[in-house]
Every structure is written in C-alpha cells, then in structure tokens.
C-alpha cells in the first residue's frame, strides 16, 4: 500500500456508501467497495472488509435495505439499496460533512 494513501476517516465511510448507492442504485458489497476505491482515485487505503460493519450500521438505522440477488457474473450476492429515509438522510449527512469540512478548512488557511 502506498505511503500517500490515507485511512478512511471514522464516519465518512457511511456517507461514501450512501452517496455510492445514490448514484449507482442497488449494488453488492464488493461493488460498493470497488466504486469507493475508484471514485477516490485509489488514494484511500480501504480494507474492503470494513465496509460490511458500515453497511450493517446503515441497515440497522433503516437507511438502506438488503436483498439477495444475482450479480452480472451470475454469482448469488447480497444487494444493498437506499431506503426512503436513507435518501432524506443523505442531505443531512452531506450538510454535516460540509460544515465539518468548512470548519477544518478555516484552520488550514494559514493567516500568514
């Protein structure tokens, strides 16, 4: 793993999963993991296994739902998709994230 890869920040993984499902529709765990790696331009060091607890967390909250289905290679896999509350939640989570990002950014702008 490259030195310039960073670990996934606690809590951001949830938002990444939600956004992925929003843009891609129903997707299995491997698909979600791959998509996140691709979108991040391979700068994230993601143990693919870690997305499963995240998926479970979202499922427990009722933001996503899961169903068994067939993959494009005809492998039986569990497919995740956004629920209605999940869709609404994305907006809230996005706002939250932007506020945090903006706050951090303010610290990063050095007042030279």
């Amino acid at each position: 793993m490259g030195e310039n890869k960073s670990d996934v920040l606690q809590g951001t993984l949830d938002l990444m999963v939600l956004k992925t499902l929003e843009s891609m529709g129903a997707l299995h765990g491997y698909g979600i993991a791959r998509r996140i790696e691709q979108v991040s331009g391979n700068t994230l060091s993601l143990n693919q296994g870690t997305i499963y607890p995240a998926l479970l967390r979202l499922e427990q909250r009722g933001w996503i739902k899961a169903e068994w289905g067939l993959s494009e290679t005809n492998r039986r896999a569990k497919f995740y998709s956004l629920s209605r509350t999940g869709r609404r939640q994305i907006e809230r989570e996005t706002e939250n994230w932007e506020r945090v990002a903006a706050t951090i950014a303010r610290f990063l702008i050095s007042p030279r």
């Binding site: 765990g29 491997y30 143990n47 693919q48 607890p53 479970l56």
Partner: protein, 904 residues
C-alpha cells in the same frame, strides 16, 4: 428513536445469530468470488487472483468479529459463555463453592430476618392515614413527678384541651379493655379491645369496610350497646357473613349490636394507658371496639381519675413540639382559672414513638450486631476468594498471556460471583424464612410483632444483599490479584512468593477487621447479658418457686359487669357480695386441695405492671398536696405473704377479723417509712375512698410489679372491694401440669360462668420469666450472634495461618535443616496471627467504646465499663484465636525438611 430501532434490530439478530452467521459467510464468499473473477478477467492466474482478493479484503476473521459486535448483543453472548465457564469452575471446587454459598446464605439470611422485624416494628407505616401526624398526649402533675413523671389523661382535661387547641384537628380518648365475647351459642372467648370516643376512627382516618362508626350520642349509658369489630373477629364470630351488621355479640354477658366492620388491613398496635408500658401485656391485636362512656366523676374531677389515653391528629404542618407548647399552655391557664390545687401540664409524644419507642434501640442494636456478623462473613468470603485467586494465579496469568483482557478476566470473576450470590440469595431466603418464624415466636412481646412477616420485598432484599456482598467481596480481591504480571506468575513457585506475600498481608488486614468486629460485638453482648443476669438475680424479696397462678374473669352481669358502684356502696353492693362469695368459696376449696400448702388471692397478676397508684393520706397528720407519698394498690387475701414468701416485718397478716371489718391495711416497708417517718405505723389510720383504714402490719418491700422497679405497695383485704379479676395463687410443690387443671376445675366447681384464660394459668416462675422476655430475647440473640462471630473469627484466623504455613513450607524446611528449634518455628507461625489479632483487638476496643456509649440506656444497673465483660470477651477471643492456630502450627512443626526442599 434511532437507538430503539438499533436495539430492536440487535435483539432480533441475537436470536437469529446462527442463520445470520451463515448468511455473512455466504456474503463474504460472494465478495471474494466476485473480486477473484474480476482479477482473473484482468489477466491474473486463479491462484494470484484469489490471494489478491483476500489481501484487499483485509482479514476475514477481523471483519467477521467487528460485524458481529455491530450486529447482535455481543456482551450477552460473552456473558452466557462466562456463566457457563464459571459454572464449570465452581463445580470443580465444591468445597469453596459450598462454603461461600453457606456463608452468604447465613449472613444475608440473618440480616433479612432481623431487618424484617425492624421494618415491621419501626419502619413500616401504620395502617391509617398520615400516621406521622398522629400524636398521643398525656398529663403531668408536678406534685407526683417524683414517682410518676407522666400520668394518663383525665377526661375533663381532655374535653377542655380538645375544645380550645388550634394545633390539633381532633382528638379521641380511649381506654384499653379485655372482653369476654361470644355469639350467644358458644363458650365466651377473651378478646382484647378498646373503649373509644366516637371520633376515634375519624381521627385515625380509617373508614369501615361495612357499616358505620359510632355517633356522638352513643357515648352515653343506654345508647352504648354497640360494637365495631375487626376483620378477623368478623371471620371468627360470623364466618365473614355479609349480614353480620345488626346482629348481636354477647360481650361481658350483655348483648351488643354490631354496627361496623373494619377493613382487613386495619391493625391497631397494643398500647397502654400507663406511660412507658406500651409493650406490657398481651400482644393480641385489639378486635373489639365499643363506645367509651365516662362516669360522672370522670367528667368532673380535676385532680384524679387519670384513667385514659388521648390520641390526636395534628393540623397539617404543625409539629408535635408546637402542639405540646399550646396544649401545655392551655392546661396551665385553665388550671389557674379553675383554681386547681395541683400543677398540671401536658406532654406530647408522636404515635410511632409511643408505640415502639422502647423497642427502637434494642432492635437497632440487634440490627447492628447482625450486620457486623454479615461483615465478618463477608470478610471470610473475601479471604476465601483471595486464596482461590492466588491458587489460580498461574491459570489467570496464562489466560492473560494468551491475550485475555483485564475486563474479560474480571467479567469471568463477576460471573462466578453472580452465581454464588444467586445461590446464596436463595439460601438466604430460606434462612430468613426460618429466622422470622423463630423471631416472631421468641419476641411476641415486642409491639407490632403481629405484623412481622417475610414479604416479597424482604426476599428481594435477601437476594440483593447476597448478590451485592458476593460481587463486592469477590471483585475486590480479584482486582488485587489480577495486578500480578503474567510473566512473574508463570515463573517458578518461589518467584511467586513476593506476590503471595502481598496477598497474605491483605488477608491479615481482613482478619484484623474481623477480630475488631468480633471484639466489639462480644463486649456489647457480654454487657447486655450481664445486665439481663442482673435483672434476673436482682433481690426480688419474694419466692417465685412452687407458686401457681390462676386468673378468673368475673365478667357476667351478676358480678357487676366490671363497673364500680357508687362510692357509698363500695364493697357492699349485691354484685360485690357475689364476687366476695365466689372468691371465699374458691379459696376454701383451693386450700383443701391435696398437696397445697397455702392458697390466697390478689387483684393483679404479679409482674404485670402497676394496677393503680394512690396517695397515702393520713387523717391525723395532713401534709401539703404535693408531698403526699404514693403507693401501688393491691387487694389481697389472707395468706398472700405466705404464698409469695414476703416476710411480714411488723404486726400481722390479714385474717378472718378483716372479713367482718375490712377497713385494715398493710403497708410495704418503703411506704411505711415515707408516710410515718420515725413512727410506728401500727394502729395509725390512713384515709382512702373517703374512709379510714387501720394499719395492722408492715411487710417487706418486694418487686412484685416489675423486677426492675422497687415500688412501694399498700395492701387492702379483698373483702373491702372484691376484684373483678381475682388472681388465685397456690403454694404447692406439685408440678404445674397437675396444678393447672386442678385449679381451673376448682374455680369452675364454684362458678361455672367465669372464664379462666389459658394465658393466665401460669406458674409464678414462668410469669417472672415472661416479664423479662424482651431482655431475654435480646440477650439470647446477641449471644448467638456473638458465638457466630467467634466462629467466623476462628475461621478467618485459621485460614490466614494455614495459607501462610502452606506458602512457607519450603522456608520452614530450610530452617529446620539449618537447625531451627521447634520453639523458634512456633514463634514464627504465631507472629503471623498475632499482629492482625492484636491490631484487631485494639481497634475493636475503640469500636466498642463507641457502641457502649450508644447502648448505655439499655443496661440495668450494670456499669458500662465492666472489666468482667471486657476481660471475658477478650479471653474468649484469644482462646479461639489460639485454637484456630493450633492446626496450622502442628502442620508447620511437622514439616519434613527433605520433602519440603525436594518439592522446591
């Protein structure tokens, strides 16, 4: 709501975890398969593709573990696992497990049993509204203060105070009474009850289950033939018949209409009109309530007829002290306005304190004693736990080395103690059940004892105590041991020594705590027991052996129905003559019984308190009202002094001469000296009931009222006013079982219509012993706790020594090999016990100094700093400590150096 949803989902998952695990594995397999397929598509070999997929996934096991933690109730699973493991561990060491469970069960059981009593007697609210606002008031008379600091109430004063006081809402007046009750078809039964003013139940705030309370106009002769009965009496006399209202009960031979039935939970504690005697007499609950009708004299007299007890409800927000200030003020103002010749006052007592005030301290003392026994039991438990932990050091260390977290190790200990605590709690409930039964039988004389039962909250209390102590005293030693580093514990035995030495030191502290508690408990016990012995061995000046008592209750109308006739007729009215004849004939027949040396009669069962106190007035030598000496009144028959074994010091006993002219009196020495200082009282007269009585004799003082009080008594011949409840007494060396039925038969052969209650057919010896029942109960319980504490201390000391000897066996081996003598070795072992024991004794002495201060008021003529009590307690403890150390000592001396060194 999110958390609820998550919790629900977790709970659901917990119960479907097997299926979900399978699903998860399937999902992970799909993940790896999909990744492998993709890698192959990009040109990797199947082998390489699978490895890459697994690497990118990053640890299947960790992912599964995190997932599971997130999914279900992981702690519950772990907990179940811990419990299973703990169960197996405990089964492997049955000795430890049984000892621990028994210790807990005994400790918690005793505490629960005693607390059940404390709760019912002292803490449980009374079965009426706002019992905290109910007070009792009594009166004081400065002129009588030296003999009776507080008097019962005078009816006239009650009416006045009730009418004028603003601090009270209402006040009821009452008198205790025994009734002979029947439904008219069966034999009469003696029931305790109260004669009450009509507002009694409204003052208490109690509503009838059925029917009504008395109305104001029922408190007068002719209208008073009505009765309110309790739920048990309703069951007993009417079998709970709904139509019992309006039916009649024969009470003392007269028909009374039942107008009200009290609710099932209603209980009124036993009270006494006399102050400070709430616990005297029967503890049967009051079951019969009838209207109180005052006599003309009671309604008008200002300076006498203090025959009642007043119960009042305070206005909201008013304290008993405020009420006392107001009532006392009113009493004094009125007395001054009416030119009353004596100085009156009022004292107020909260109801609860009136009923249980005297029982409070002894009960709390017992509670403290039983708690200290529990503490000692806990210390032993902690000791056991320490030994057990130490024995399992290597196992614990191994588990720690294999990666078990501290929390997880502690959880294991917790599970073990949870199991022990639960089992102990179950045992404690059983012990508490038995304990409560024993206690209620042993101390039926305490107030409210009839309310004591082992309730569900009490069982929860037993379980709670057991769990709490087992966990607290299991976890604390575990914390200490878990601090041991894994590597040091895994090293050889001798390297462990330092760690174990530390454990030994904390065990020493535990023993010191035990010894301290034991010393304090023993000293207090010794004091209380000595005080009890003092009461028993008190010079009583009467001879209680071979005397049998039988009380007859002359309550049929032909005997006068318990009512005194008008003053002019005293002793000469037809009813009095009936009683006179009954007593005369009974005495003749009793004297004729074979084996009977002497028979007589008295008006009060000895040692059941006072009957009535009167001023001894001399017509020839008037003294100011405040300085009239007083004495207790007794009506007796000839031969009384012979039966009781009380010497007559001067003059003579009553005989047939008094039958013709009953105006004679015998004084006890004390009152003789007080009323006739420096004179010979024989031949002088005293005035009583408006008539003059000639002093014909002086008898020795005897404690016939109460073993603890040396009261002055004056005796009148029973012919003067034959008592309604004559107590026949017989001196005979025949056994009580033979005498009792014979006396009853004799009484019935003379008068079949009198009742002879079983409870009043007793030997004087058992009456004496009954009169000190509370003291005996306290002494017995404390002694058993004291012995228990000694046993526990012995166990504790033995444990410490045995452990330290086992630990130092190699050391002793070396010492013996190097030529150490037995004496030196013995000193070494004993030093291990001596330090904690000595420390404990010092601490225990300090502790007992505090405790003695607190119980001082419970001691009867016993010095609080009693060298005997302290010396005996310390001797007992040292002896036990020595005994406990003998076995380990023998083991140390028997160490075979060769074997000890080889074991190393």
């Amino acid at each position: 709501m999110d958390w609820l949803r998550i919790l629900l989902s977790r709970c659901a998952a917990f119960f479907r975890r097997r299926r979900l695990d399978a699903e998860l594995d399937e999902e992970f397999r799909a993940h790896i398969d999909l990744a492998t397929t993709e890698h192959i598509a990009r040109g990797m070999s199947a082998e390489e593709a699978r490895t890459a997929a697994l690497r990118e996934f990053g640890g299947l096991t960790q992912a599964r573990e995190t997932y599971r933690v997130q999914r279900g109730l992981p702690w519950l699973g772990i907990f179940a696992q811990d419990i299973r493991y703990a169960f197996r561990q405990l089964r492997k060491s049955p000795g430890f497990t049984l000892t621990a469970i028994l210790t807990l069960a005994l400790g918690a059981g005793c505490v629960t049993a005693v607390f059940s009593v404390v709760d019912a007697v002292l803490l449980h609210p009374y079965a009426f509204r706002d019992s905290g606002q109910v007070i009792v008031w009594r009166e004081t008379m400065r002129e009588l203060e030296h003999i009776m600091p507080v008097l019962p109430d005078n009816y006239h004063h009650y009416l006045n105070l009730k009418a004028r006081a603003h601090t009270i809402q209402d006040a009821a007046i009452l008198q205790t009474a025994g009734f002979s009750v029947s439904t008219g078809t069966d034999h009469p039964r003696e029931d305790e009850g109260l004669a009450i003013s009509p507002n009694f139940f409204s003052v208490l705030g109690v509503n009838m289950l059925m029917g009504r309370s008395f109305t104001e106009d029922e408190a007068q002769t002719g209208r008073d033939r009505e009765v309110i009965i309790t739920w048990p009496a309703w069951q007993r006399y009417f079998h709970g018949d709904e139509n019992a209202l309006g039916r009649t009960l024969r009470i003392d031979g007269e028909p009374y209409t039942v107008v009200g039935i009290l609710p099932r939970h209603f209980r009124f504690p036993v009270m006494s009109v006399m102050p400070g005697e709430a616990t005297h007499g029967s503890t049967d609950r009051y079951e019969i309530f009838k209207p109180l009708v005052p006599t003309t004299s009671e309604l008008t007299t200002n300076t006498g007829e203090f025959n009642f007890l007043v119960l009042a409800r305070l206005q909201p927000g008013v304290t008993p002290r405020q009420a006392q200030t107001e009532l006392d003020g009113i009493e004094k103002t009125t007395a001054a306005a009416e030119h009353v010749t004596v100085h009156l006052g009022v004292v107020v007592m909260p109801f609860a304190q009136e009923v249980t005030g005297d029982a409070s301290k002894p009960l709390w003392l017992l509670m403290a004693a039983v708690l200290s026994v529990l503490l000692m039991a806990c210390v032993n438990l902690a000791n056991l736990q320490l030994a057990r932990r130490a024995a399992r050091d290597s196992e614990t260390a191994l588990r720690a080395a294999l990666g078990a977290g501290r929390t997880r190790l502690l959880q294991g200990v917790l599970a073990e103690n949870l199991l022990i605590g639960l089992a102990g709690g179950a045992g404690a409930s059983a012990f508490a059940y038995a304990g409560v039964r024993v206690l209620t039988r042993l101390v039926s004389i305490l107030p409210r004892m009839n309310e004591v039962r082992l309730s569900l909250p009490m069982l929860a209390f037993a379980l709670g105590i057991s769990l709490l102590t087992s966990i607290a005293f299991g976890i604390l030693p575990a914390l200490r041991v878990l601090r041991v580093m894994p590597q040091s514990a895994l090293q050889s035995a001798s390297a462990k020594l330092t760690g174990s030495r530390r454990v030994a030191r904390s065990r020493g502290v535990l023993v010191a705590v035990q010894v301290a508690a034991s010393v304090a408990l023993l000293i207090v016990t010794a004091l209380i027991t000595r005080s009890f012995a003092r009461v028993l061995n008190q010079q009583r000046d009467f001879n209680s052996t071979h005397v049998m008592l039988a009380k007859a209750e002359l309550s049929e109308p032909r005997y006068g129905g318990g009512k005194s006739p008008d003053a002019g007729d005293i002793g000469a009215d037809p009813a009095s003559l009936q009683r006179d004849a009954m007593i005369d004939r009974t005495l003749d027949k009793l004297r004729a019984l074979p084996g009977v040396e002497e028979a007589s009669v008295t008006s009060v069962v000895p040692l059941s308190g006072s009957m009535g106190v009167d001023g001894i007035v001399r017509p020839d030598h008037p003294v100011p009202e405040g300085q009239i000496p007083t004495a207790d009144r007794r009506l007796i028959g000839p031969g009384y002094f012979a039966v009781m074994g009380i010497p007559i010091l001067e003059g003579r006993d009553f005989d047939q001469r008094e039958r013709e002219n009953p105006r004679a009196v015998i004084l006890s020495q004390k009152i003789a000296e007080a009323a006739f200082p420096g004179e010979d009282p024989i031949g002088h007269k005293i005035r009583h009931w408006g008539r003059d009585y000639t002093v014909i004799g002086v008898a020795a003082d005897a404690r016939i009222n109460d073993l603890k009080r040396d009261e002055a008594v004056y005796y009148l011949p029973y012919w003067d006013f034959p008592p309604f409840y004559p107590v026949f007494m017989v001196r005979s060396s025949l056994p009580a079982q033979t005498l009792a039925p014979e006396m009853r038969q004799t009484i019935w052969s003379v008068a079949p219509d009198v009742t002879v209650p079983d409870g009043a057919l007793v030997s004087l010896d058992s009456q004496v012993s009954e009169s000190v029942a509370p003291e005996r109960f306290q002494a017995i319980l404390l002694s058993s706790f004291g012995i228990l504490s000694l046993l526990l201390a012995a166990l504790g000391i033995y444990g410490v020594l045995a452990y330290s000897v086992a630990l130092r066996t190699p050391e002793f081996g070396i010492r013996i090999a190097l030529g150490a003598g037995r004496a030196g070795l013995a000193r070494l072992v004993m030093a291990d016990a001596l330090i904690p024991v000595a420390g404990g004794i010092v601490f225990g002495l300090l502790l007992s100094a505090g405790a003695i201060q607190w119980i001082r008021s419970l001691l009867y003529e016993t010095s609080a700093i009693d060298p005997w009590a302290i010396g005996l307690s310390l001797a007992a403890l040292l002896l036990v400590a020595l005994a406990a150390s003998l076995l380990p000592l023998r083991r140390a001396l028997a160490v075979d150096p060769m074997q000890a060194l080889r074991a190393e």
